[in-house]
């Protein structure tokens, strides 16, 4: 068996909540298993971020009967990237702009139970590098936790929508915003924040779920006296970036929290490293890395850096999908990561040892990764530096995969990756134009990758490190994926079309146009014995602005939007 779901892969609080009142341990287990199978309690469904639903009512045999159960207007346009969560018969879904709203809905009908409107100031767009997106909320212990664009974290009563506490994680006016849901481990709600290019020094922070008081804070850029501070030149560590802005994962067995970190700042590598590929020890740890934290203390256990002294904006933030893979006959606990740098990493999550790292999209900046050291074999021509612009760099800055979540199906053994095939020319000019820093150069020209397509839904065998099937798209930056025990994989694209495929063969089984570009990952859940599939639509607005003519195609594909669609039979 490749992967087994256990209670440990679900929040403890949820397991406890359903345990009360049941007699026999066996009945309790069976009931817990059903409840666990029915819900979708956090962003990636479980701590393992697989986005695999064990539900199998909807299959290839009956998907033709899938129809709209309800839709819901989110009341907020553009960059709606939320994965709804479902606990019991209640769905919690957030919107863009703050979030502007968090709704609690009857998961069967869409009837509104409550609406939470956090008091988010109206100037956040100015400080959000990459749009006013929000990717969802987290449930634990009867509370909903909301990370906010204004750098705050709020806890809301899941039953009433009443705000319980709000704490400030970071000053958003330094260009640091929170766009992703936090991770709850025991009594702690853990979050990072964004702003890697704008002078932030990254940290991961844990707060008490009942009070909002800080439990621990760990810098992801070490200071003087800490290990690896000497991987930064001069005082550049003070504003080194390496912010963990996306989604965390957790392994209860080792009590380890995993998080990816962003690119280092500023973009000009000579400020923080040598300015070329001979970076020596100036690798800028722990930027563009996967970092393993001890959950109890926040202490860093180990790290795997994918892109040392990054010069391409290859954030290492992409989600870590945890699974136990059979590799060379041995069941191995791994994390999988489709890194922005174009390589797919399979790493032993108990030791931090790289098992394999192979190209999953057209990639030119490096030929391979040394699995012993993690060091990429770079093409010196493709590394931009002072007076050394680079041409034909693949992937471009949005990466082989961006934030849109992949999924892993233990039954097929495949990972479903929303990948990009885009390249770029780049120089080291700061492209920002703001107070005290005048405009210098043109936007980084964006070029379609080889092969005449710009995105591909990839079904990837993580053990063999090869593509099994793919569905190409004329646009990059398509939506996240969901895979189910019904042998289905769901995926929305930037044209606003929501598709279902046979998870094994890649055969398209069903599709429906939903009117605005899809970035969010779909989810599946069951209430009263009926399986539902839900997805949020509402295309991105800020990212295309970085991408010239390619960006124009992205925004022309559909209007802005903001709606939830839920399907059932």
């Amino acid at each position: 068996m490749i992967h087994r779901f256990t209670h440990a892969s679900y929040p403890l609080a949820l397991a406890l909540a359903i345990g009360g009142g049941l007699g026999a341990a066996q009945a309790q287990d069976a009931k817990a298993k059903d409840v666990e199978a029915a819900g979708w309690a956090m962003y990636g469904r479980g701590y393992d971020n697989t986005r695999f639903s064990p539900l199998k009512q909807i299959t290839a045999a009956n998907i033709g009967k899938l129809k709209l159960a309800f839709s819901f207007q989110l009341g907020s346009l553009r960059s709606n990237e939320s994965s709804p969560i479902v606990v019991g018969d209640t769905m919690y879904v957030s919107t863009s702009w703050g979030p502007k709203f968090v709704y609690a809905l009857d998961a069967r009908t869409g009837a509104t139970k409550w609406t939470y409107e956090p008091d988010v100031p109206d100037d956040t767009l100015q400080y959000a590098c990459c749009d006013v997106n929000n990717r969802g909320v987290t449930y634990a212990d009867g509370k909903i936790f909301v990370g906010r664009l204004d750098g705050k974290l709020s806890a809301v009563d899941a039953a009433t929508g009443k705000e319980l506490w709000t704490t400030t994680v970071v000053d958003y006016k330094q260009g640091s915003v929170i766009t992703s849901p936090p991770l709850v481990v025991r009594n702690m709600v853990i979050t990072g924040f964004g702003g890697g290019e704008y002078g932030a020094r990254g940290s991961l922070q844990a707060y008490d779920i009942n009070t909002g008081k800080e439990v621990w804070k760990t810098w992801t850029v070490p200071g003087p006296g800490e290990a690896n501070n000497d991987t930064w030149k001069g005082d550049s560590w003070q504003h080194g970036g390496a912010v963990p802005w996306l989604i965390g994962s957790y392994d209860a067995k080792t009590d380890t929290v995993f998080w990816g970190t962003s690119n280092p700042g500023p973009w000009n590598t000579v400020v923080r490293s040598t300015g070329d590929g001979n970076y020596g020890k100036l690798t800028n740890l722990y930027s563009a890395s996967t970092v393993a934290f001890d959950a109890a203390t926040g202490k860093i256990k180990w790290h795997v850096q994918a892109t040392p002294a990054d010069a391409w904006d290859y954030d290492g933030v992409n989600e870590l999908v945890l699974a136990d893979l059979t590799i060379a006959g041995v069941k191995t606990p791994v994390y999988m990561k489709a890194d922005r740098n174009g390589f797919f990493y399979v790493v032993n999550r108990e030791t931090g040892k790289i098992i394999s790292a192979e190209k999953y999209v057209p990639t030119t900046w490096a030929s391979k990764i040394d699995v012993a050291t993690g060091k990429p074999s770079e093409d010196p021509d493709k590394r931009p530096g002072p007076n050394h612009p680079a041409k034909g760099v693949c992937p471009n800055l949005i990466g082989g995969k961006n934030w849109q979540p992949m999924s892993f199906n233990p039954q097929t053994g495949l990972v479903y990756i929303p990948s990009n095939n885009v390249c770029m020319d780049w120089s080291v000019s700061e492209v920002n134009y703001r107070k005290g820093v005048f405009y210098l150069g043109a936007d980084f020209p964006t070029l379609p990758g080889p092969g005449g397509y710009m995105g591909e839904l990839l079904a990837w065998d993580p053990v063999a490190q090869k593509k099994v099937w793919g569905v190409k798209s004329d646009l990059p930056f398509n939506g996240g994926t969901l895979t189910t025990a019904g042998n289905l994989t769901f995926w929305g694209d930037l044209h606003g079309v929501f598709h279902a495929f046979d998870a094994k063969s890649g055969k398209e089984l069903w599709k429906i146009p939903l009117g605005s570009g899809i970035g969010a990952g779909p989810i599946s859940y069951s209430v009263d014995g009926k399986q539902y599939v839900a997805v949020v639509v509402g295309r991105t607005a800020s990212i295309p602005a970085f991408l010239g003519d390619v960006g124009k195609k992205m925004t022309q594909a559909t209007p802005e939007g903001g709606a939830l669609f839920v399907f059932s039979e």
Binding site: C129, D235, P266, N268, G275, E430, N432, G436, F438, A545
Partner: protein
């Protein structure tokens, strides 16, 4: 509003005659400006009360007066400058933005410009009693630079000067005046403004003349507003021929609080 002295008498006279009759019918000229970016623009109560809304606002007022139109300011923060311009200037929320880089590839053909009206650039800031006047005079010393700025990259590429990184010109000047740095190498206009308003002119501000250090700036418009651009461009010619010297006035008159040492008016038509 503070009386500005740079409108030529003939133009001012023409305005005075026409103004009463036409004011109501003439739509306001809408200036895009940052509410918190002195010495360039501010909507802070103090700045408004003193009649010192910033150089870009003053230039906007001068242009509006010369056009015989009232001026309205559309305030929006420019932390991300290009995005801000997309949401304001290019979305038709306002008509003009002062102080944009006068280069064609700034935002492509969507943004068009008048002739350059200012030179803006980076400058060295050192104590008045120090002999330093160029970068090579600062070897072995600590120099404050802004994160992500060209001076930061330039200093990082040499091993004989230690960078002290600041997040904005205010922090750089604060660290300089606190003795945490021996000099600063930052945006000249901001340095001059802070030096004058907060630091009693203790420092001298020396423009750095090197590639990527000085930039011509102009008034920018959406490409859909070519007629307005042409009208204002022609007017600038006239103003230049008369007394188009807002920056000079500002620089020469400490009472305005807007002295901006390295800012140079391009007086040649």
């Amino acid at each position: 509003m503070r009386a500005l002295k740079f409108i030529a008498p003939a133009v001012a006279l023409a305005l005075a005659c026409g103004a009463a009759a036409s004011q109501a019918a003439v739509p306001a000229l809408r200036l895009c400006a940052d509410p918190a970016n002195l010495p360039f623009s501010s909507n802070a109560a103090e700045a408004t009360q003193k009649g010192m809304p910033g150089m870009y606002v003053e230039i906007g007022q001068a242009v509006a007066q010369a056009l015989g139109r009232p001026m309205e300011t559309v305030w929006s923060l420019s932390y991300f400058g290009k995005r801000n311009l997309r949401a304001t200037l290019l979305a038709g929320q306002c008509d003009l933005a002062v102080g944009l880089p006068a280069v064609q590839d700034f935002m492509g053909p969507r943004v068009i410009f008048t002739r350059p009206i200012l030179n803006l650039g980076y400058a060295l800031v050192v104590a008045k009693d120090r002999p330093a006047s160029r970068l090579d005079d600062l070897k072995g010393q600590r120099v404050a630079v802004q994160f992500g700025s060209p001076p930061q990259g330039l200093l990082a590429a040499r091993s004989d000067i230690t960078s002290v990184t600041a997040m904005d010109p205010e922090e750089a000047m604060r660290r300089l005046s606190a003795g945490e740095a021996d000099a600063a190498f930052i945006w000249g206009a901001s340095a001059s403004y802070i030096n004058h308003t907060a630091l009693q002119d203790r420092f001298k501000v020396i423009p750095v003349d090197a590639p990527q250090m000085q930039f011509p700036a102009a008034i920018g418009f959406s490409s859909k507003r070519a007629a307005l651009r042409d009208e204002i461009d022609a007017l600038l010619g006239a103003l230049l021929n008369f007394e188009w010297d807002v920056p000079k006035t500002v620089r020469a008159d400490p009472s305005t609080g807007l002295r901006t040492g390295p800012v140079e008016a391009l007086l040649a038509p």
